[in-house]
Symmetry: C2
Subunit: 372 residues, 2 copies
């Protein structure tokens, strides 16, 4: 960890800032919600923050609240390799292919599968002497990966795993990604319950067929925060809660002030109401998850993070230019601003480190895991 002596006004722009107090509030909120469900662990998804330093803050919040820690979920093997030395897991929660098995098995990681025909090919790819743990992925309505919890493919996959000495059934897993499309907290609760019910049902089907099902894994940030009951579930996976963003703030009714990561940008042009920033598509990403809520590529804030009149957004992007329609007192070229991200996972992925700031001070620089 590099401890710089620079101040925010001296950082090169664009760069990624992190508000550690917001981070702590987000971690505490998730821990406090999960505390309502005794025995249910968090297996934090590190694909958002991609930072061991941040993952450790989440662990501390879990410990403080007495919530069990199930280690980490990852979405790239680069994350798996970066986190494996100091975190339990990793669970690689993207459909596994034979070519990725040796790296994952060598780390003691777990993978997912949703196709019985793939199982023998995964088994064959496990290096001699190792055993790879596999979760059977379920589709509870997202329409991405996974099998129907009620259909015949589920027991066929478990049976195929049981036939392979190099494989072990780790459990069942689902992700109600359609929770991101929920229009009300009632709908969100309903999706959370269908996620829970689907996973618990699948586990009972496999147990009735004689399989041990150690883990029943569900989750997404919105369903983890909204779930009213989690009985039968052993672990929840969630990631974006720790940074939060404009989309999550709207969906989960959490304060915009808890958006922990933002992009520091310089004003590089003032042309009447058109203000140009040096944060463009590369610094912000082209995520458009706010298209249904006023659009744009992020909300522009003052350097200290406070709201600006009219809450301007970056309304258009070129590679290194962000366009803002400015209604208040015009800034000057060289002034610094912050942009709150629409979608923290994608904006943060454009940067290699967090500059952890408190007021004008840069406290620390925390590297991010990069690559795939």
């Amino acid at each position: 960890m590099h401890r710089p002596t620079v101040r925010v006004s001296e950082l090169p722009t664009p760069c990624l800032l992190l508000d550690p107090a917001a981070l702590e509030r987000n971690a505490a909120r998730m821990a406090s919600r999960l505390r309502r469900h005794p025995g249910v662990a968090l297996r934090q998804h590190v694909k958002t923050a991609k930072s061991p330093e941040i993952a450790r803050r989440v662990q501390r919040a879990l410990a403080a609240a007495g919530v069990p820690d199930a280690g980490v979920t990852v979405s790239t093997l680069a994350e798996a390799e970066a986190f494996a030395p100091s975190f339990a897991g990793p669970l690689y929660a993207v459909g596994l292919v034979p070519a990725k098995v040796p790296r994952l098995a060598a780390l003691g990681g777990a993978g997912t599968v949703d196709d019985a025909e793939v199982v023998p090919r995964l088994a064959e790819a496990v290096p001699r002497g190792l055993v790879l743990r596999l979760f059977v992925e379920l589709d509870v309505g997202q329409g991405r990966a996974g099998v129907d919890p009620e259909g015949p493919r589920l027991p066929a996959i478990a049976a195929a795993i049981a036939r392979e000495p190099s494989l072990a059934l780790a459990g069942v897993l689902t992700h109600a990604g359609h929770a991101y499309d929920a229009r009300s907290s009632a709908e969100l609760c309903c999706i959370a319950e269908s996620e829970r019910a689907g996973a618990v049902h699948a586990a009972s089907v496999l147990r009735a067929a004689g399989h041990e099902v150690p883990a029943v894994s569900v989750g997404s940030t919105p369903t983890a925060l909204a779930a009213e009951r989690l009985d039968g579930v052993t672990e929840v996976r969630a990631g974006v809660f720790v940074l939060s963003d404009l989309f999550q703030s709207g969906l989960n009714e959490t304060p915009v002030e808890d958006v922990a990561a933002s992009v520091l940008a310089s004003v590089i042009g003032v042309h009447g109401e058109r203000v140009l920033l040096d944060a463009g598509a590369l610094a912000l990403s082209k995520d458009r998850s706010l298209d249904g809520q006023g659009g744009g590529y992020g909300e522009v804030r003052a350097l200290d993070g406070s709201e600006l009149p009219g809450r301007p957004r970056v309304h258009a992007l070129n590679q290194e230019h962000g366009f803002v329609r400015w209604s208040g007192t015009r800034p000057e070229v060289g002034d610094r601003l912050r942009v709150l991200p629409n979608h923290a996972c994608l904006t943060a992925a454009q940067h290699h480190a967090y500059h952890v700031v408190e007021g004008e001070r840069v406290l620390e620089v925390w590297p991010r895991v990069v690559g795939f």
Copy 2:
């Protein structure tokens, strides 16, 4: 330069592939077009490829065609620092702020300015003993940065530069970014001519006021390829031509086979017509420049780059998942495919290196410049 012995079938996915033959064709095409305009140099924009190895191939194509080489254009100081040791320039073509002056001036680089009030602040930021060269940026219709070539702000900026001993007028510069919205080659030619005429007029205004104007710099890939005349212009800036992409291919009527960079992906799920790839928003970017032309996030091709029946596209993205509607013979989990990018600048920026491939062989790995 790292020379690996792996084959394409052994590369971890997702990763970025480069077809060196397509690269050579693209470089030769630009050199051949510019050869029509004797004395006009190329100052290649390295923001697309961000690779010294690729920039050297462009230099060779220029030399072979007898086209002058004006060095490099950059859009980040990270690029400026990476290219400065071995390439003339760099010209940092994003509006300059005082805080960026010391790094740029130390490299012998040039910047741009479009506001007379900013000039003294840039001058003050130049380290003692150095002189920073500045281009005055013109707006010829894009509506981003720059001043009107016919208005009073242009001579005021040149006069402000002339008053500062630490600054020197490098020339005038414009970028007809609105060329990307052209609907016909006739419209493109017309925009190219207005780009040329605006820059040449601005230079004549400044010369009439007694300023030396060494460079008259215009460009974008579409206008550079479309321009019928470039008299009065000294250099053209263009970058994306070297990799090309689906959008450029449509706009500039160049073969899709000349799209030089693609993303190697694995099939991670087959659910009826829904095929999932491990190339999602992080591997492809969320660029939607094909929204007006069938949409999606890239065209899926066979491993060898050949067309697939129905020319499927990635129609939706999650962070590490790409969704494809498949109409032909279904692939298997673990099969490898290529995705041609909508917008090469943004897709390539998601990766740290090119895997230079010829058939099944990985010839070399070329690093990309990362960060800002």
